[in-house]
Amino acid sequence: MSIERFNDNIRNAFGSLEQRINGAAGGALHALRRSALEAFTTQGVPTIRHEEWKYTNVLPLLASDLQQSPDSDLAAHDLAALGHMPDVDAWRLVVVNGMVRTDVSTLPEGDAAVTVQMITDDLLASHPRVAAAFGHITPASAHPFVAVNAALTQQGILVHVHGRLARPLHILCVGDARASDILHTPRVLILADTHAEATIIESHHTVGTFQALDVTVVEVLAEAGSHVRYFKLLHDANNASHIGSTAAVVARDARAVCATVVTGGRFVRNDLHVRLVEPGASGYLYGVSVLDGTSFADNHTVVDHVAPHCHSEELYKGVYDDKSVGVFNGKIFVREDAQKTTAYQSNHALLLSESAQINAKPQLEIWADDVKCSHGATTGQLNEDALFYLRARGLPEGDARKLLTHAFAAEVMDHLDDDAIRTHMVALIDEALA
């Protein structure tokens, strides 16, 4: 059965990784991997009987014989063509099948306020903040695929931002699926120092026509007064599946702005956790999904108000055509100590076809009493009054529908303060709507 084969593949991949790293198998990193493998074995592959995977069936993905394949020989010029952002002047960090490709990456040099390096046993030993964050912001117990990532990641990447980043850093997670069905597990830790400011873009790309599943984990530590913008772009091919988990821990007066745009791919599951752990922290979560065909996208978000005087805003929208299916799960926790919390959430879905579906579940758990929280959700078709208004002003019906659909989705991006990136994201949305 496919689950058993997947379990075997994970164990075998772990075994070959152990051989590859040879001498380092006794180190702290490998100890993390080993306990992650145990965590995976304990949890097992989730089925729709698990509450958090109720609408999200991963079994069809496991019908393919997904294997890790760290030795990709994808040519530099093929990689250069991926994830091009005409409006955004970004550094590029290219990761192919989980391994960093320095030959095609363009990384900052000198005093660029950022260092990008591999996470090694030495680094963990010499850098207590990294050791405290890596594998701890998102522990392997978070969910079974996080455990898969933690067990199989050979190269964890540290992005350490010390100051104000002059350009965005674009991390491209590429799957080389030209020869066989693949599984790859990119892993990144973003450490933003006190008062640092960084824009990170994460995008996913599959080359080749075999099935590809990438299981990505990104941990973010936003220290006091820092400002982290994190943009995730998923506009991959329809043989590409993605299970991603991003968690941000946000300290005093720091701000994390996260935006996720899904405009393609066979299957997408995004977990985004934002933990506001000290007073004055704020989290902003934005998402747009534009799906058609039989695409599937699940956005699972958690905003955890741990400390008092924190603020969060969340806005997710989806446009679903054909037989596409969307899931939105938005949890807000307000812990007992988190007085004076303000937390707002809304999610809206536009169904353009009778067979499209959205399963939305907002979930507020509030233990503090002096808080302002709200959530709202809508599902529907285009507003007939608006449609008529536009037509009465001369717009042909098709154009009026397109304009309203565009406005519905693109409006989310108005909340972003970076013009170039907003332009790029709106272009992606428009391309998907065209």
Partner: protein, 255 residues
């Protein structure tokens, strides 16, 4: 001269209920017609049927606009032909800026008429000129269409759009409601500035007040889906003094 609009014994309804029960009306170039009537008499229904709202079912009669069968046309074709409806309740459209919307609208109508789209500079100049008419601030252009606009701002925006589209026939549905006296004056002078011997205006209103500023050639009183009475501009004053019950009582229902 050919009439701009001829409504002949128009009957229309919604969800099986007849609301307009035989309305006839002829509007000629250069004229201003006022349609007054109590709430619920069918004024907005008439405006919606003219503009092509599909929720309403036409049950009988005909409407001819510039020698063409209006009822055969899609709403956007009616706009292209030169019909403009200023909505009683302008719709808020988040995410579409007023400027972008206007450009799309103006160019859609121009395309319908076989004209080239306006170039950016010409379009901007036109917007600036027309905004002055209704004393609208530039800042509205970058805001989402009608979103968060006050009642008065929405109505001014309707007249601004009317100015941009230069319609042959404008139907203003309660453009005066919710306006203070200053806003009313601005809106009315905007409408008056757009009047010409070749176009016409139908002003729908509940109150006589607006007609002090936009002086009608003909006043019609719509009661219970029928034009119960028509007359000159004095009729509006008489109505104001005597109330709608006067019409209901003096005119036989089947008039």
């Amino acid at each position: 001269m050919q009439p701009i609009l001829t409504i002949d014994n128009l009957r229309a309804g919604i969800e099986g209920r007849e609301i307009l029960k035989g309305v006839s009306l002829t509007v000629r170039p250069g004229e201003v017609h006022a349609i007054m009537g109590p709430n619920g008499s069918g004024k907005s229904t008439l405006a919606s049927v003219l503009a092509g709202r599909e929720d309403y079912e036409v049950l009988g009669g005909s409407v001819t606009f510039m020698q063409k069968d209006l009822l055969e046309m899609a709403p956007e074709e009616r706009a292209g032909e030169g019909l403009f409806l200023a909505f009683q309740y302008p719709v808020e459209i988040p995410g579409v800026s007023t400027a972008n919307f206007l450009k799309t609208s103006v160019n859609a109508v121009r395309k319908y008429r076989g004209q080239e789209p306006l170039e950016a500079a010409a379009f901007l100049a036109l917007m600036r000129e027309k905004m002055k008419l209704v004393e609208m601030d530039q800042s509205f252009l970058s805001r989402s269409l009608n979103e968060g606009f006050s009642g008065g701002e929405k109505k001014r925006n309707e007249v601004f759009q009317m100015a941009m589209l230069e319609p042959t026939l404008s139907v203003l549905d309660e453009t005066d409601s919710g306006l203070d006296i200053d806003a009313l004056r601005i809106v009315a002078s905007g409408v008056n500035a757009l009047r010409s011997p070749s176009n016409a205006t139908v002003v729908i209103t509940h109150y006589q007040r607006l007609l002090d500023y936009i002086v009608p050639d003909v006043v019609h009183v719509l009661v219970n889906g029928r034009i119960a009475m028509s007359g000159g501009k004095e009729l509006a004053l008489e109505l104001e003094a005597k109330g709608y019950d006067w019409v209901k009582n003096t005119v036989p229902v089947e008039a």
